[in-house]
Symmetry: D2
Subunit: 291 residues, 4 copies
């Protein structure tokens, strides 16, 4: 197996996040100039887009003001409201853990696929093994480049990335987080099944990103990579499986694009702090850009 298997030891479950060294984090902190903070997350709740084959995200109140209107006790005048949430971990803005995708009989780095089990969840490479990182973020704004959101099933090729990064005036560095704005969420986010024919990166573009030792790849669509009638997820296999690069999906990049354009910048400090969901194959996350 080519890629990053074995690069950080036989037991490694952290993958390309290893590339975010203290030095990388230190340099990223230097990118904070205006002190402006931008959330890159979509709202998550019952109205989130939800493919028909999955449970719909849900929120159930366990206590609310109605209970007090109906006579619940308020010790010392204290009232509270509480709720329970339920959602597929691949809902809303989320990061794919390294246990999410593979081929053959092994997950990233040779961990046995048998460690993903109904009973116990992912015992290797689950979301709890994704460390939070602070690194440099780079926006590749294909909407600005094209003047419009990419059309359905449009491929994002190596040359599109090369051109986008050149226009950003950036040289990719190990540990970077590359965020790709296709415009798909902005143009199709209200559709429940907006996944089927989305534009996105090709397998070759994924290999180009991996070759540059990026730590994270994200996009404002459901799968980072483009979807067509032909099945297969080559970019997932290159990035998650072969190189241990987590994928951040369903980003909302419109606000960031506007902020960066206004400031004449294309890089920023990126905060990535997934939940340590034990045994899960993904985690919802609120990535944050600081300019």
């Amino acid at each position: 197996m080519t890629g990053n298997w074995g690069r950080w030891g036989a037991e490694d479950q952290l993958g390309a996040l290893n590339l975010v060294t203290p030095e990388v984090t230190r340099r990223a902190a230097g990118l904070v100039r205006e002190g402006r903070t931008v959330s890159l997350a979509q709202p998550l709740g019952p109205a989130s887009p939800s493919p028909g084959h999955r449970p719909r995200p849900a929120r159930f109140m366990n206590r609310d003001a109605g209970d007090y209107a109906l006579g619940a006790r308020t010790p010392g005048g204290f009232k509270f409201a509480e709720d329970t949430v339920q959602f597929p971990t691949h809902s809303g803005t989320h990061v794919d853990a390294l246990a999410h995708a593979w081929s053959g009989e092994h997950l990233y780095n040779g961990h046995p696929e048998a460690s993903t089990r109904t009973t116990r969840g992912a015992q290797r490479c689950g979301a709890e093994h994704l460390a939070p990182v602070v690194t440099r973020g780079v926006l590749v704004d294909l909407v600005a480049a094209a003047g419009a959101p990419l059309p359905p099933s449009a491929p994002v090729e190596v040359e599109d990335l090369e051109r986008g990064i050149a226009e950003a005036g950036v040289t990719p560095e190990p540990g970077d987080a590359i965020l790709i704005r296709t415009g798909w969420w902005e143009s199709h986010g209200s559709v429940d099944d907006y996944f089927a024919d989305e534009p996105g990166i090709t397998g070759d573009a994924a290999a180009w990103l991996a070759a540059h030792d990026v730590a994270l790849v994200g996009a404002d669509n459901y799968a980072v990579e483009r979807q067509t009638a032909a099945p297969g997820f080559p970019a997932h296999l290159v990035l998650l499986h072969q190189h241990g690069v987590p994928l951040i999906e369903n980003l909302d990049l419109a606000g960031l694009a506007a902020e960066l354009a206004g400031a004449g910048r294309s890089t920023f400090l990126l905060l990535f702090a997934p939940l340590p969901l034990v045994g899960s194959t993904a985690s919802p996350v609120t990535p944050v850009a600081v300019l």
Copy 2:
């Protein structure tokens, strides 16, 4: 009503997070020296502590390697695993949204309590209104001061905070996040109902914190404030309700304490990026310290 009601306008739902200005964030970025990143979150999953009156956190696999062992199709050799999670939003390390606690008939800033409803969740002051912030974090390490975890129901008083902050060599500033280590999670975290008699801040200590215009208060126990046989949540009312200060609960501060002690520091850059859970009264969160 005293406190912060009206301070940021009649429609404000952001509360004390308004205190984290771009200038505060800029200064916080300057605290990054070693580039070391520390997660402050407890694992979240079926084994998380769970009070008996609440649904237990759960993870359900929607697809796993077993499906392939039993004959599921793998287009282009692609295999994937997916899961669904369910948990009370007040599970694990989480932040209380401003809709969580109140007295009388109004939430923080005069929003009607009637906006927390079974059908729709919290229509005001829900978790989706908590902005991510980057600010200065200050650790008040009461375990180091006492040489041991605080005992059950021990009060953390104003003078404890004053002494702890003085020992840290820090002057509280508007927008700070104050994190209080009681040792409770370290000593009682394996107990399902470890909530009932925890040590924590008093109502007076809460008022002291609010008077210093802190943006966030967190602790390594279930409710930030101490629990005794007498009911009532005075610190919740002072901080959440009157001053709009979100509370971060169930932190794991042991690792941070060790890092800070090793570096001879007590402040750090704090990243706080809750999920925009629409209508929820809390959000799980992975707060991150960068030294």
Copy 3:
């Protein structure tokens, strides 16, 4: 309040099911001649029709054969599979409990509406108070009468019931279960939101049924009563609220109609055994006809 309030005592939560006396049950047993058993329930699962505002029914495996394929232990060669289900109680074939519908400030029989609370569920008139009963069932087959399923929003009036029951050669008796076949499930059951414009009984027809002291009313549509653009549920109020008559919804009556027609009958022994779901406003149920 007219209706059955107070008829069986101030504390009664059983409603019209009180009408199924041992004598009624004894007579019903005499209706078993062929010994043929017919289920009147629709399948219940992830594919069940699900209005968009509700959580979708879900089934999650907790253990399956995949676990063994991946190496789970089998003590003494024993393997097992388990699952968890989740669904709105008003999914699939279900019976509305008396806590489901009301007007004013009281449930059936004057129980306070305040007893339906987020925290505790329905503390009065919940599904656990619906007793199982064995009684005479009468099929009113409007599809056979009309030669086709009823069209959208078609009203089933008093005279339709009178004619249908006369054609069945039956005189309504106290304690009867009246099942009304509109054909809606057969013609529209594959539609998620097949509720909006269904045919069904009018408020007057509901009053007619209540006046005959029926114990149960069921139909092969989502709400027993017809739906139009104008809001309101008069038949629910007459039957559930005023008379304590549980409603069985989403029945599958096609098979029963065929069996009865083949046997030249219109009455049968009806088994009604809801789950004692504590605090729920409905229960899924498999009503059974025995001929």
Copy 4:
């Protein structure tokens, strides 16, 4: 494989329920004399006993009176309450479907174990294939015989069944439902993990029951068969796997025992109407006895 494999054809998924012929049902109807109806189900809800490794049963209100107290609209004065339930299908009083237990690579009747899959649930022998039946029920009341509930891990042997049935004055007939009262629910039902050392039938007793062509076996404990420190479920394998006999677990038989003793009877009409839960390995059920 000995047992009932192939007895009702290679495609059979109904198992021993095939033994409940129309003639058996007709004769059972003749057992109704007093017309008294007794539920054999335990309450099902958040307070149901719940082993620690499983999700806890839950009920979530989707709408309740609190919504109206807080201003929800009431078209035509109509108010309603609704809820969602969630529970492991093996909670409370339930019947094990034939997909629940097996050894080797095949379910009952040679159906491939590969048909129980995380993604799709049990595609063969799931709960939707359990037909409702009406048959003769026989109570074997070991509590009455012993004068007390059976002690922990007590075996119920062939001779116990023979003696109990003889005392009942009954000759087992094909299609019978045999219900065994051990007293375990009455003595241990308030314990969450009351499963571990329960009394119950042995593998030999299971074989004796199967040899008499019973259609259903039930008991007032968690697994019908006794539990000891040594793992293994021989009675499950004999009854479910080899003979296709569904097991009804967690029955409440105290009320039935009292009724039968009062009437000097030991047989009754048994109504068994599980939910057609698609792909589930069990179904909650309210078995009903009619005397």
